[in-house]
């Protein structure tokens, strides 16, 4: 792997930290917006996924996973609860897995990958909600959340692909 040639790369670390911080800010913006469906906390548009898509395409799955998981834990600590952590974590892991697989297939654009990520993000949260609230009724909202997932996936994917196209760093450059 090209990016791991250097044993220790401060530049890359700083950039990844910055991206994680931006993802965190996006989560906070979402936290301030009214929720789509308020009965289940944590079901959101997934703006932070813009950064995950960007890192996934610009760097690697490993880096994208780091940005995503650190973001999930920090936002749960800063403006969430243990419960929202469970929701977000399930969403983030499923979403990452789906995006990694679809990207590897090479059949879809960034937008398609992002849509799958957004839908799986919501699905992961619904699964946790079904377990936590012990009710299958939440499943009925799946169709709504699937549609919102597709819409947010398109938006996030477009922004993410534009970032990937126009914002490029020389990841391995060392001073």
């Amino acid at each position: 792997m090209r990016y791991h040639e250097k044993r220790f790369n401060v530049r890359r670390l700083v950039l990844l930290g910055t991206f994680t911080a931006i993802a965190l800010i996006l989560s906070y913006i979402e936290f301030l917006l009214p929720p789509i469906w308020s009965a289940v906390p944590g079901i959101k548009l997934g703006l932070a996924n813009v950064m995950v898509i960007y890192v996934l395409y610009s760097l690697s799955l490993k880096d994208a996973a780091m940005v995503s998981l650190v973001r999930v834990f920090l936002s749960a600590i800063l403006f969430g609860t243990a419960l929202t952590l469970a929701y977000s974590l399930a969403g983030a892991v499923l979403s990452l897995a789906a995006m990694a697989i679809l990207k590897k297939l090479g059949l879809f654009s960034e937008v398609g990958v992002s849509i799958a990520g957004a839908v799986l993000h919501n699905l992961g949260q619904i699964l946790v909600a079904v377990i936590v609230l012990r009710t299958a009724e939440i499943g009925y909202y799946m169709i709504i959340l699937t549609l919102t997932g597709i819409l947010s996936g398109v938006f996030v994917g477009l922004v993410g692909s534009l970032l990937t196209k126009y914002i490029k760093f020389d990841w391995s450059k060392q001073k």
């Binding site: 090479g106 937008v111 009724e137 499943g139 799946m142 169709i143 597709i150 490029k168």
Partner: protein, 139 residues
Amino acid sequence: MNEEKLCAEVENNSPHSVKKRIRNDIILVLAIILFASIALLVMLALRSEGGAAVVTVNGKPYASLPLDKDAELIIQGEDGGYNILVIKDGEAYIREADCPDKICVKHRRISYSGETIVCLPNGVSVKIEGSGGGVDAVS
């Protein structure tokens, strides 16, 4: 030169043309919608009319009201909070509550097995259980 390398790599990673990939994206979206619709239909087909509204406060059983009898119940929730549960025409809903979010009051009426109204601030949950009319509808 590094940028060239990056571009080359991006192209290597995507052997399919942009047009083809956008077409695939659309197919993906349609497949997702189809899958979600089927899942929804299956869930709607499997649901059954409930027999009783079971109330719990902080997970502890509080009351159980049969759906076939119109009734009203003031549920004493967390820290003196209250929710007024109404059973009418086989449906249950919260008419009034002192919680700040009023999510439980806005929730639509419930009557099917497994449907739940939750009031998180008051720790109150109303869940429909059992099948309707005393006769097991699922055969």
